[in-house]
Structure formats: structure tokens, C-alpha cells
Amino acid sequence: MNQKNGDKKMSDEEVRKLVLARLSVMSPDVYIAVGSDGSFSRDEMIQRVEAGDEIGREISDIQMEWLRSWKDRLVQV
């Protein structure tokens, strides 16, 4: 993935699209347990991210935290 844009911030909509794209290629047979909020299938997660509710935002945050961590971890190498 090219990162010529450096630290350009993504809009919420861009983040949502990115996360939805990543979710859409997941297997339907896996689930995410998000603590007290319960378990969600791929399709349920897609619905939540599309809805932008608390769970959807949590899933997006987790994805983006991890993606952003690559930048720091690659720099350290």
C-alpha cells in the first residue's frame, strides 16, 4: 500500500469505507466478540459500521489503531 500522502488524516467516511471493505472480504463463519456488547458475525459488523453506532465505531477504531500502528512499527525497524 503506497503511503505517499504521509500523515493525511482520513475523514470518518473514508475510515468507514475502508473498514467496510475489509469486513466484506471476511469469512461469514467468523465472529467478533466485543466484550460486554456481545458477538457479531461479519454481516452484523457490516451493518453496525454502516450504521455508525457505538459498536460500529469501536470496530472502526480498533481497525484504524492497528493500521496506524504499522507506521510506527515500520519506522522502528
Partner: protein, 221 residues
């Protein structure tokens, strides 16, 4: 065997009523098996026994050195079976005083953990954000065998394994993070698999939000 445990007991709460509690309770079952093999006495509050009355009674009677709380939670409490609160900030946190607690529960290290950590010679290990993991269809009857959940299990269980080896609370969480990061690197070597990508993201989150409150130098004696 590896190291000596001393005279302490470990008390586990293992609610078992939804996929999340089935999984995390199964992870603790692995720990119970390992502990028993090391002749460490364990109290297993499984399923309906993971209720407040039983929990408080058994803690007071047996005085465990380590309490492992599995269950849904929030800033202020950790729950047991059917989401009954077991330990509640501002109510009965003194029950965890002078012990080490490890809570596999969302957010509890924030409010509840802070309060518990204020008691002398007390450590509370937990998560200050939501604890999440991934699992596969078809493993609800044998969660400990689910390969997708295994990295999360090994990461979480390492906390207790370290405590049993009489490391300090802080040493245990650092070692757990090392185990988690090693598993994360394995996951990240298979990033062509979108399921693995998502698992890596959740494991990264859990690793970064495992914290200790209170006496980080406390060990089990």
C-alpha cells in the same frame, strides 16, 4: 516443576451463558488443569456458581492469593453468570484487597481496578478498554481448540501462568504482551487472509490495553 507456588489458592469465576463467557471460561479451564497438575488448589465457580453470594462466600472462606474473574464488565464492575455483578466499585471491592486479581472483562481496570488498586498490597490486572477476540463457527463446545481464538487465549492465559511462576504483576503483564506480540507477528505473516487481519487488529488492541493497577510488584505467596 517450574518454580514453587507457595500456599495460595486460585479462585476462578467462570460464567457460561453466551459465546463470550463460554470462550473465556474455557480458557480458564485450561489454566485450572495446568494448576492442578502443579498441585495448586483451585476454586472453580463455574456456570451458576459464578454468582455474587457464592463468590463472596468462597473468597472470604478460602482467602485465595489470586482471583481470576471471567465475565462481562464495565468501568465499575465485573459480572458473573447471567451478568450478575460480582465486584462493584464503591460496594464490595474490599473483597479483593491484599490479593492479585486478573479480570478478563471489558473496561474494569479503569474505575473498578483503580479502586481495588488503592488497597495496600493489592494488584488488579485487567483491561482499560473493551476486551475483544475472534472466534470461529463450530467451536462453542470446545473453545480451547478454536485456532482463530488461540492467540487471544495464549495471550490472556500468560498473565496467570506468569503469576503462578511467582513473577510480579508488572512482569506478568509484560511477559503476556511479549507472548501476544509474538502471536501478533505470526498473524501478521498471513495478512492475505482477511480473517487473520481482523484478528491481528483485535489482538493488538487487547495487548495495548492490558494494565495493572495498585501494587505492580506484588507476587503470589
Amino acid at each position: 516443576m517450574e518454580g514453587s507456588f507457595g500456599s495460595g489458592m486460585i479462585l476462578f469465576t467462570r460464567p457460561d451463558y453466551d459465546p463470550v463467557t463460554k470462550y473465556i471460561s474455557a480458557w480458564s479451564k485450561v489454566l485450572i488443569r495446568e494448576s492442578v497438575e502443579k498441585a495448586i488448589e483451585c476454586i472453580d465457580l463455574f456456570d451458576d456458581k459464578a454468582n455474587k453470594k457464592e463468590f463472596e462466600g468462597r473468597v472470604l472462606k478460602t482467602n485465595p492469593s489470586l482471583v481470576v474473574l471471567n465475565g462481562h464488565g464495565n468501568n465499575d464492575c465485573v459480572t458473573g453468570q447471567d451478568q450478575e455483578p460480582l465486584v462493584i466499585k464503591g460496594q464490595n471491592t474490599n473483597i479483593l484487597a491484599s490479593r492479585i486479581t486478573y479480570a478478563i472483562s471489558c473496561d474494569s481496570a479503569k474505575g473498578l481496578g483503580d479502586e481495588v488498586g488503592k488497597y495496600p498490597s493489592t494488584a488488579y490486572i485487567g483491561y482499560d478498554r473493551k476486551f475483544g477476540f475472534m472466534y470461529s463457527h463450530g467451536f462453542l463446545s470446545r473453545p480451547e481448540e478454536d485456532p482463530l481464538a488461540k492467540p487471544f487465549m495464549e495471550f490472556s492465559n500468560q498473565v496467570v501462568r506468569g503469576l503462578i511462576k511467582e513473577h510480579t504483576a508488572e512482569e506478568c503483564i509484560q511477559r503476556a504482551k511479549e507472548v501476544g506480540e509474538a502471536n501478533l507477528r505470526k498473524l501478521e505473516s498471513s495478512l492475505s487472509d482477511p480473517d487473520i487481519q481482523m484478528a491481528a487488529a483485535f489482538l493488538w488492541r487487547d495487548i495495548n490495553h492490558l494494565v495493572v493497577r495498585g501494587d505492580e510488584h506484588k507476587k503470589i505467596y
